[in-house]
């Protein structure tokens, strides 16, 4: 629940918000690429820390943290699995599990940051103007736009079931999973129902009429956008080059 808040657009007037959505996507993507290139704890830690000033700049630090907190459980799981592999002789260094958990955190928080400062409409426009077929774009933006609706719905379903004596916060892991079935089924049923209704309502308003679609707004790529793009690409290239031509300082216990 709390994690949802970390992926929902938060209105704002910061310089990060004003960037072209494609540039914001490039920044987030760069973080992801860099984190996938390195397995070293130090580099991944730097990447994670580098996101802090960005989150602060966008005025979404609290929301960004709640995304991290919400997903810390999964990070722990990744840590545990990697630790187990080492135990069974994967031959990785001992800081590898921490690095993998950190990599997960970097990837997740890069996406969180992107969604926090990019409105669903902007996101849609960006996709649309990148010549991806409109149906695909539309499906994506709808999915994206309905996240907050779904979050509210989960809340209201949980309220109804808790009022019937369902305990969500006690018991062991398996019991907790099982107790979420009364939440999951209504959520799926009402989502499917809603999507069918929306589809009908859209067709009734001319969706898929076959004519070329027009659009009301156009994205414009400003000078700042260009500057930030160049900066990001430079940093990204440097990181890739470093990875290719520098021997990585592997941690060797002996």
């Amino acid at each position: 629940m709390m994690a949802c808040k970390g992926f929902i657009f938060k209105k704002g007037e910061t310089s990060l918000h004003r960037l072209d959505p494609r540039v914001k996507f490039l920044i987030s993507l760069s973080f992801v690429v860099c984190s996938l290139l390195y397995e070293e704890l130090l580099v991944l830690a730097i990447l994670a820390l580098a996101m802090v000033p960005l989150a602060l700049k966008g005025g979404v630090f609290r929301e960004w943290l709640s995304a991290l907190k919400g997903l810390s459980f999964l990070a722990l799981l990744i840590f545990a699995i990697n630790l187990a592999f080492i135990f069974f002789g994967s031959g990785k260094p001992w800081d590898f599990p921490v690095a993998m958990a950190l990599r997960f955190i970097v990837v997740v928080s890069a996406f969180s940051l992107f969604f926090l400062v990019t409105s669903p409409d902007e996101f849609g426009l960006a996709l649309q103007q990148s010549r991806i077929p409109f149906d695909v774009v539309f499906a994506l933006t709808m999915a994206f736009r309905f996240v907050p609706v779904l979050a509210l719905e989960v809340q209201s379903i949980a309220d109804a079931q808790r009022s019937k004596g369902l305990e969500l916060d006690s018991g062991n892991f398996l019991m907790r999973v099982k107790r979420r079935i009364p939440l999951l089924i209504p959520l799926i049923v009402s989502s499917v129902k809603r999507s069918l209704e929306i589809a009908e309502a859209m067709e009734a308003r001319g969706y898929g009429s076959g004519r070329p679609r027009t659009s009301m707004y156009k994205l414009n790529f400003k000078r700042v956008d260009l500057a930030v793009t160049l900066l990001t690409l430079t940093l990204l290239t440097l990181t890739v080059l470093l990875r290719l031509y520098l021997p990585t300082p592997a941690f060797k216990p002996f």
């Binding site: 109804a160 808790r162 009022s163 019937k164």
Partner: protein, 269 residues
Amino acid sequence: MIVLEEVDYVYPNGFQALRGVSLTIREGAFLAIMGRSGAGKTTLIKHLNGLLKPSRGRVTVDGVDTRKATVAQLSRKVGIVFQNPDHQLFAETVEEEIAFPLKNFGFTPSEMRERIDWVLKLFNLERYRHHSPLSLSGGEKKRVAMASIVAWKPKYLVLDEPTLGQDRENKLKLRKLFQEFRRENRTVVMVTHDVEFAAECGFDVALLADGKILASGSAREVLSKPKLLEEASLTAPQLVELFLKLGSPKPVFTVEEAERLILNLAGRG
């Protein structure tokens, strides 16, 4: 007795939905909470079983502060039927759906069967016993949702907009049910827009507007004050309005009252 004392509630996003709400719900009371949509009615009833805890003030259920008990404990006494049945129904069969809370509250199998038989009959759902609740019509789903709560006989029954989207026949059934509850001296709190229905079923009324209680009292008192109703964006029952317009000295509530009055006047004239 459920007592709300000076309750404020602020949602996490900073929106204040309740402002200094004080309300006492006595045992055996029939209370309708009325007001326009967005007035804070649902927010208010979520305080009755501790789903929401007041940001300021206090809510007690039979003397127990809702902050000091779990939702499950409070729900045993305070059964809330929420508005949207699609947010509740999940079981394979109607029978299982009704059994779900009974299992949560630790009823024995024989008690369970007895309660299920009883509510299926009460809500006229017997023939759907082994059907999937998801395959039913809107009105039937609403009845299943209600049945699953009535089944554990909560001391306080709370209903959010039970008449919304229900036809005349279903409303009549609901009215019958309320009559039965009244005989058993049970407590019913109902959220509704439906002034006629609240008046017909003999509920007291608390008017809510912008998170504040504007007025509370018998339906007769509250619903015959057009000014007050206007403030809460409700309209008086048509009959009340008509007789006020005609200059009747006291408000007329039921068709029978109106009939008597008219016959009297006609007889005299």
